[in-house]
């Protein structure tokens, strides 16, 4: 059983590598955003708030696209697209719902960066909203990582 689990056709390797690269970059960028903006409300600098915005716009969103696009590629390589198992459906549910959260967080972070430039400490409540949205996404991704690794059902 463990031997079977370890065998994978070579054709799956490139999409799997890119999928993991996208997912890891996405999670890393979100952790950067969450940790740097969590302290922004307590006197964080304009640069910290701007970093949160840029990490979302230039790292998290492109990484999400890479992760999601290669998920589709992998699904087609594995011939799972006709009758996808539950863990694949769960992956899509999580990725698509968190995209909305990421877009919301990016908009809030952009507005927070603008406010911070005008002198509002740490971008005000918008920075806290970004942290909440990103934290929810990170919890969802933890579930997704578990589902992708253990493939329940």
């Amino acid at each position: 059983m463990t031997l079977l689990a370890a065998i994978r056709p070579d054709d799956w390797n490139l999409p799997l590598f890119l999928h993991l690269l996208g997912a890891m970059t996405l999670v890393g960028a979100l952790l950067l955003v969450a940790v740097s903006l969590a302290g922004a409300g307590r006197g964080g600098s304009v640069a910290t708030v701007r970093l949160g915005f840029r990490a979302l716009l230039f790292a998290a969103l492109p990484a999400w696209i890479l992760m999601r696009g290669t998920a589709q590629w992998l699904e087609s390589e594995e011939n799972l697209d006709e009758d996808p198992p539950e863990w694949v459906d769960l992956g899509y549910l999580i990725s698509e719902s968190t995209l909305l959260l990421l877009i919301g967080a990016t908009v809030c972070a952009g507005l927070a960066a603008r406010r911070a430039r005008r002198g509002v400490v740490g971008g005000g409540g918008l920075s806290r909203a970004v942290v909440v949205l990103v934290a929810i996404s990170l919890v969802a991704y933890l579930v997704a990582i578990w589902a992708m690794a253990t493939k329940p059902s």
Binding site: F17, M24, V27, A29, V35, S36, A47, I145, W146, A149
Partner: protein, 124 residues
């Protein structure tokens, strides 16, 4: 058992990659602040140990792998490079020396190399 080992090994790999992403922001000129660097370092320590210990455990557990397989020995060697350059990047950043960015990018390349080895498993 295999599923949980793989999940925790993957989670540890995500922590290592997260550190690479967070330090990349610094290497690109951002100033994320001391708490962010502390979290990145903690993730590196936990993730680094986790990938090694759980990776070796997986190699012993899975029937098709042996600890002396070329790709596993190669991964351990690359892991050592990543750990060494990671430690040096941390020191260079703390001492604000000019070599931080170069050392960090070598560490990031090593992390990417680990991912390539884990996916392609050459010789397995």
């Amino acid at each position: 058992m295999y599923d949980w080992l793989l999940f925790l090994h993957l989670l540890a790999a995500f922590m290592v990659a997260a550190t690479a992403v967070m330090y990349s922001a610094v290497a690109l000129g951002a100033s994320p602040g001391t708490p962010t660097i502390r979290v990145a370092d903690a993730l590196w320590n936990i993730g680094g140990l986790g990938t090694l210990i759980l990776g070796i455990w997986l190699a012993l557990y899975v029937d098709g792998y042996e600890i002396w397989d070329g790709w596993i020995l190669g991964a351990i060697a690359v892991w050592l490079i990543a750990t060494g350059t990671g430690e040096r990047a941390r020191t260079e950043l703390a001492e604000r020396t000019g070599g931080f960015a170069a050392v960090h990018w070598v560490r990031t390349l090593a992390v990417l190399g680990l991912l390539v080895l884990m996916v392609w498993k050459p010789g397995a």
